[in-house]
């Protein structure tokens, strides 16, 4: 079994083992073991990757494996990894692990919960490692569907509606995506040897006329899950209704599929289309960036605030991708990672607060620093990280994006970039508003005094998210260099 396929196999084995568990104790232990194994594998993967590169392997993808699946259509089980993949997998495995910890006390149908969670993880891993568009699409949908159950069964509030909205919108987006992928397939070869393999399609020059039509289709198809304005509306309500671990996975990992897909498929395979359309999508993404942040200011539900913040932050990812240079792209990947950890951390904390206070309304909370100091302090740290404080990942990512975006000289890009930069102020406003209202100030209600302190599993979950944020924030060089190396082929395509 090769090192990447394990990422599909291990979760499946975990799911199989979960099927035989009887109660919460058993299932959470099995889920924990499974996710620990996945995490270990992902750490192993980065070392293996570095070792592989150290041997002088300069091919675009390493650890590739190709198994014929549907021979007549040339659909293959093609997998491979580059630096970007490796980091995305680490992100996913960490968030899943933290999610298991955060869900340590899940009450209703624990077995099913963990199964859905792990199935989602399978989809995500699979998506990241696939080099075959069919495979990618398959895993994409595998990742999306468990969300319906996860939100619908274990969620809160108008959960059925939110779950339905989320699923239908994402599946609707995949309608576009499917058309785009089929288009790529049928233009992948002039002589009928069609292929879904990304690397092979990249060798073909798809006519500009075709790219002109295919690019927006593929881009929107992926970008909807990356919360592109105005298709972001599934995300706030979905977040708000989802249980904690699901919000984490959803914002932390699932939404990353969008940016990743845009980069890996739309940008890489359709460079001419990307150049042609970038202005249009830059406008949308800048609107998303500013709009998300401004919308977040006025929200009162913690999860809504965070969801809009995600719209803003992920808007920045798309924005950076559309800047079409390596610095901005590097920033986009860093921002994906950084946002993944930060939002997951945020949602974990919000979940903990909600569990104690049974409300997420900031107006009803206040002075929490006194009663749950640990959670509150981490919330402040997460907030500071989110508003781009140096020393945390957000800063590194945002600065890389802005510097990258500034490499485009013309006035349109300049104006867009400067509009995008304003988000650092707006973010500060809504983050500090929450920190000020909820954590600081006098204690709002007396009964808050009895809040239980953070438990060990909650703390573990928190640290799993916090540590990477700090690592990226303080020592970004090695990470960004690995990413930069992996971006080279994309740059070559674009030129």
């Amino acid at each position: 079994m090769d090192i990447l396929s394990l990422f599909v196999v291990a979760p499946i084995i975990t799911v199989a083992a979960l099927l035989f568990t009887k109660n919460l104790q058993q299932s959470r232990v099995v889920a924990l073991i499974g996710s620990l194994v996945q995490f270990g594998m992902s750490i192993n993967l980065i070392f293996a990757y570095l070792a592989e590169r150290a041997t002088g392997n300069t091919s675009i993808m390493v650890f590739t494996k190709s198994v014929v699946w549907f021979k007549s259509l040339n659909i293959r089980y093609d997998i491979g990894a580059d630096g970007i993949t490796v980091f995305m997998i680490i992100l996913a495995s960490l968030v899943v692990l933290a999610g298991v910890f955060i869900s340590w006390k899940i009450k209703d149908l624990p077995k099913e919960f963990f199964i859905s969670l792990i199935v989602l993880a399978t989809g995500v891993y699979g998506f990241f490692i696939s080099l075959d568009l069919f495979l990618m699409f398959l895993f994409f949908e595998v990742a999306v569907i468990p969300m319906y159950l996860l939100i619908g069964i274990w969620g809160s509030g108008p959960k059925e509606k939110s779950a339905m909205k989320l699923t239908i919108m994402l599946m609707g987006a995949s309608a576009l995506l499917l058309v785009g992928l089929l288009g790529l397939y049928f233009y992948s070869s002039p002589d009928g040897n069609y292929t879904f393999n990304i690397l092979e399609i990249a060798k073909v020059n798809i006519p500009a006329q075709v790219q002109h039509y295919l690019f927006p289709v593929v881009f929107i198809g992926f970008a909807v899950i990356g919360a592109l304005f105005p298709f972001h509306t599934w995300s706030p309500s979905g977040h708000a209704s989802a249980p904690t671990a699901v919000s984490m996975l959803h914002a932390g990992v699932l939404m990353k599929l969008g940016g990743y897909g845009v980069f890996r498929v739309a940008m890489y395979l359709l460079p001419i289309g990307a150049k042609e359309w970038s202005w249009f999508f830059i406008i949308l993404s800048v609107i998303g960036v500013v709009y998300g942040a401004l919308s977040a200011i006025k929200q009162t539900d913690l999860k809504y605030i965070n969801a809009y913040s995600s719209v803003s932050h992920l808007g920045l990812v798309l924005f950076a991708l559309l800047m079409l240079n390596k610095t901005a792209w590097n920033g986009a990947i860093l921002q994906s990672l950084s946002h993944g950890f930060m939002t997951a951390l945020f949602f974990a904390l919000i979940g903990m607060i909600y569990e104690r206070a049974h409300t997420r309304d900031v107006r009803e909370l206040g002075g929490l620093l006194k009663v749950i100091p640990f959670i509150s302090v981490i919330y402040v740290i997460a907030g500071l990280a989110s508003l781009g404080l140096p020393g945390f990942s957000g800063f590194v990512a945002e600065m890389t994006i802005f510097v990258g975006a500034f490499q485009n000289v013309d006035i349109f890009h300049r104006v867009a970039t400067i509009l995008g930069v304003t988000v650092i102020v707006i973010t500060a406003v809504y983050i500090l508003r929450v920190v000020g209202m909820m954590l600081m100030g006098p204690l709002k209600k007396e009964e808050y005094r009895d809040f239980p302190k953070a438990t060990w599993y909650e703390k573990t979950g928190i640290f799993l998210m916090l540590i990477p944020i700090i690592i990226i924030g303080t020592t970004p060089l090695w990470i960004s260099d690995i990413i930069m190396e992996s971006i080279k082929p994309f740059i070559e395509r674009m030129l």
Binding site: T233, S295, Y308, V421, L439, M440, P442
Partner: protein
Amino acid sequence: MNFSYTILIPLIPLFVFLFVGILHTKLTPKIAGSIGVLGLSTTTLLSLYTAYKYFFEVGKVGEVYQTFIGAKTTWINFTDTLHIDMGVLLDPISIMMLVVVSFISLMVHIYSLGYMKGEAGFNRYYAFLSLFTFSMYGLVIATNIFQMYIFWELVGVSSFLLIGYYYDKPSAVAAAKKAFIVTRFADLGFLIGILILSYYAGTFDFQTLNDPQGAIILNGIGGSFMGLSVLTWALILMFMGGAGKSAMFPLHIWLPDAMEGPTPVSALIHAATMVVAGVYLVARMFPLYYFIDGGFVLQIVAYVGAFTALFAAIIACTQNDIKRVLAFSTMSQIGYMMLALGVSGYDGHEGLGYMASMFHLFTHAMFKALLFLGAGSVIHAVHSNLMKDMGGLRKYMPITNITFLIAALSISGFPFTSGFFSKDEILAAAFEQNKLLYFVGLFVAGLTAFYMFRIYFSIFWGKDRDYKHAPHESPLTMTIPLILLAILSIAPGYIHFSDFISADRTSFVAHLDFPLAITAVVTGLIGILVAFVFYKKESNIPERATKAFGAIYTWAYHKFYIDELYLFVTKKIIFNVVSASFAWFDKKVIDDGMIGIGNATINSSDKIKKLQSGKFQDYATWFVVGAIALVLYFLYKN
């Protein structure tokens, strides 16, 4: 000379921060405090050692002070040319700042042992102090503009944390938020400035940027935008960042509110060190400011500085909270420094303003820290910030009284104090360049003396108030720093700053210009005299004066309603109009739009249900009609 040990200067406070911060629930206050003081003492010694080495042994090669890079490592790569380094840059101004920061910080650390005794968050407080010190060091020794920006943000957040130290006080929370957001807004300009500058210059590095013979200054790359060259715009935007941090008009509104923090914090951050970062920034990039577009931006700097100096001094005369008076005083004095930079030239004696600015930065740090710590001592004794709760304290607090007096004299430019010398140089520089600015400066000097002695007399003279328990002198941990700072409020005046610091790094001789000096001293004395008449004894003169000024007084008392203007813009416009309408748009248009598509689908399902009428003859009709329609369509098409 190997300066690589200087890396320890920022790292020691960082470790103290991490150690105390992580273990803050485990450590006793005593241990935490002593760790902090110990760490800071070490770095102070290191700084002093470095200063000695640099200024007296190795710094000067020929006639010119050299720049040393103590350590440097790449932190992240952006493009082929742009990358952020982390390192230690040593040159006269950075070393001077190191000394200032270390010393004031050490004083505050010691002082706080007494002042903060018994506070619940004592350990947290020390952790934050260390964090601040670390960040400030990082800012000062930055080798490149981006490193400076990074630490610039970090000092901002430390300031936020320390202002919000009393986090259960809503006013403190609001002040902390305000400070952070306003400076963040200014930093937006800073960042965009950096982006523009670095794009055209292809580097972040100070040494390359500032080289007067370098490509950037000589060739002035880049196009123009709205009549100004792009580089000018970059410098203006960067000055915006500096203005925000240094509380220049109109980005000053956060500083008075920042007094919600503990008083030692105000002394350290909001008087001596962080708020002068803006001055330091301009000084750091002085060659660029001077050479690009013939110093156009420096003009802006000078006028903004002068206006702020005047504006803040006027407000300071009307405030009743002593810390607020001091805060406005700080703004005013920083305005001075900006003014001095703005009127400075480059070569030799031309660069008098530059030197004066740094000189004043140094002396101001000492006496303003002293003023704050003295005020802290008073507040500690009477448990109030308001002047009406104070009076006649000289009997109870002799040391505080004397030291406060020294500081007040120094800031008023009383002869033979350090403030006299530094302020004189500034006025001299202004006089050479721009008479208008000179007179503004002179007037402000008088105002400064007036409001300083207004509070001095109100606190230490006049009638006793009915104190709940008799005020008493503060403990040694607090008075020793006061005494040390009092000494340093006088002594530095006798250092020949122009030997060490100048715009072009060569020494020159700065004379005391006696006519100007006498004018300034007389103005100051008039100010003191007026204050003496008004406030030495309780009288109704101030009230009458207030009435005489009428509307102007009310305006000044309300800080010219700038806060209200900001509040209107943020609360009313951004919050209630922009954000609320965005939220509405999102909910009603986008979200409901998407749901509407779904509902329309479901409704259409309801609309067409009649087709399935249950009558199979209807079905047959459809069947036949459908078939015939298809036939007709294709017959027609063929």
